[in-house]
C-alpha cells in the first residue's frame, strides 16, 4: 500500500488504516523492542505505547522518513526512558535490601529469569548506547548514515560506538561460539 494513502487513512483514524499499520509494522517493531529492552512483556508495552503516541501525533508526521523509521524513533525514545526507570527501580530495590552492592549492571540482571541464548544474555549486558547501535546496525540493518540520522549523532561517533559494541560482545560471548573468526580464541589467550 502507498504510504501517503496509509497516512491519510491514519489521520482520519480509519479502522482499516490502523489495522494495516499494526499488521505491517507491529511484528518488526515488537522484535526490535524486545532486543532493546530485553523483556517480552516490556516489549509488548513499549510497542503498544509507541503506536498510541504515533497515532496521537500522526498529524505532525511530515513524510520525510518512512513510517517505520518514524515509529522506531518513538520506540527508541520510549525504550530509553523505560530502561532508565528500570535501572532506577533495581538500584532502589537493592538499596532497600542493603545486602547487595549497588552496581551499574542493574538492567543486565533484572531479566535474567527470561534469559535466552548466549547472544541474548550478552546483548542485555552491553551498555545502553552500544545495544542501540547493535540493534540498529545488525537487526534493523541500517547503514551508518541512517543510524547517525536516527540517533542524532555524527557518523564518526556511530562507527566508534559500533567498534566498541562489537568488542564488548566479543568479550561477553562464550568462546565456543567462535564469533569473530578462527583466530579469536588464540587472540583471547594471548591477551
Amino acid at each position: 500500500m502507498d504510504q501517503d494513502e496509509l497516512v491519510a487513512g491514519l489521520r482520519r483514524r480509519d479502522a482499516w488504516a490502523v489495522g494495516e499499520l499494526l499488521d505491517s509494522y507491529g511484528q518488526r517493531l515488537l522484535r526490535s523492542a524486545f532486543l532493546l529492552s530485553g523483556s517480552e512483556i516490556d516489549a509488548q508495552d513499549l510497542v503498544q505505547e509507541t503506536f498510541v503516541q504515533a497515532l496521537d501525533s500522526i498529524q505532525r508526521f511530515r513524510g520525510k522518513s518512512s513510517i517505520y523509521t518514524w515509529l522506531h524513533a518513538i520506540l527508541l525514545n520510549l525504550a530509553r526512558h523505560h530502561i532508565r526507570d528500570s535501572r532506577r527501580l533495581v538500584v532502589n530495590d537493592e538499596l532497600a535490601r542493603k545486602d547487595v552492592p549497588v552496581t551499574d549492571e542493574g538492567f543486565a540482571r533484572q531479566d535474567t529469569e527470561t534469559a535466552g541464548s548466549a547472544l541474548a544474555i550478552a546483548l542485555r549486558q552491553v551498555s545502553e548506547i552500544h545495544r542501540e547501535v547493535l540493534v540498529l546496525r545488525f537487526y534493523e540493518e541500517m547503514r551508518i548514515h541512517e543510524i547517525a540520522a536516527h540517533l542524532g549523532l555524527s557518523k564518526g561517533t556511530v562507527k566508534s560506538r559500533l567498534h566498541y559494541a562489537i568488542a564488548e560482545m566479543q568479550r561477553l560471548l562464550p568462546e565456543e561460539l567462535n564469533l569473530f573468526g578462527a583466530n579469536s580464541t588464540k587472540e583471547k589467550e594471548q591477551r
Partner: protein, 187 residues
C-alpha cells in the same frame, strides 16, 4: 589509503556506501594489506552472525491480539460505516417537548416584561402614555443523543449534545403610566 583510514571506513566499505573513489582506494589497500583484509573479513562474518542471531532471538515474538485491541481502543476510531443510533427514550427525545418549552419560556418572558411595565395607578399625578417595546429573546438548549456502535466484539457508546438556539424578536405596544414629574423632567 592507509590502515587507519581503511579502519575508519570499514563499515561503509562492507555496506557498499563508499564513494567510487574511496571504494577504489579501499580495494587497492586491501590488495596490499593482509591485516586489513583479515580484519574486514572478520567484521563481515561478525555482521552476518549478529544479524542472523538477533533475528533468531526475536523471531518467536508476535504482537498479541490483546495489544492490538488496546491500541485500536486507545485511538478512538470513528466508525467508517453506518451505525445504529438511538435517541434517549422519554420526554427529552420528543421534539415537541422542546418546542413547547421554548414557546412557554417566550410567553412567560413576555408576561413578566409587560407586567413590569404597568405601575399602580394610585398616584393621581401620573398620566397615561403609549410606548412601543421590542423584545429580543435568545434561548439556548442542548439536545442529548446517545449513540451505540459495534467495534469487533465490543459495543462502544457515547453521549453527544447537539446545541440548538432559538431566537425571537417581538414588538409590543402597550399603554403604560409615567409619573408626571418624571415626564416633565424629560421635557
Amino acid at each position: 589509503m592507509n590502515c587507519r583510514q581503511f579502519q575508519r571506513d570499514v563499515f561503509e566499505h562492507l555496506e557498499g556506501s563508499l564513494s567510487q573513489s574511496a571504494r577504489l582506494a579501499a580495494q587497492r589497500h586491501l590488495e596490499d594489506c593482509e591485516a586489513c583484509r583479515v580484519s574486514a573479513q572478520k567484521l563481515d562474518r561478525t555482521s552476518r552472525f549478529l544479524t542472523t542471531g538477533l533475528r533468531n532471538e526475536s523471531e518467536f515474538l508476535a504482537l498479541t491480539e490483546d495489544s492490538k485491541m488496546r491500541i485500536k481502543d486507545s485511538v478512538g476510531e470513528t466508525p467508517t460505516e453506518a451505525v445504529e443510533t438511538t435517541a434517549i427514550p422519554g420526554l427529552f427525545a420528543r421534539p415537541w417537548i422542546w418546542l413547547g418549552s421554548g414557546i412557554a419560556i417566550i410567553a412567560l418572558s413576555i408576561f413578566f416584561f409587560v407586567r413590569s411595565q404597568f405601575r399602580p395607578e394610585s398616584d393621581t399625578s401620573q398620566k397615561a402614555t403609549d410606548s412601543l417595546a421590542t423584545i429580543s429573546l435568545r434561548i439556548s438548549c442542548c439536545e442529548p443523543t446517545y449513540t451505540f456502535r459495534t467495534d469487533g466484539n465490543l459495543v462502544v457508546d457515547s453521549l453527544n449534545c447537539q446545541p440548538c438556539v432559538m431566537e425571537e424578536s417581538l414588538q409590543i405596544q402597550h399603554r403604560g403610566v409615567v409619573p408626571e414629574n418624571e415626564n416633565n423632567s424629560q421635557l
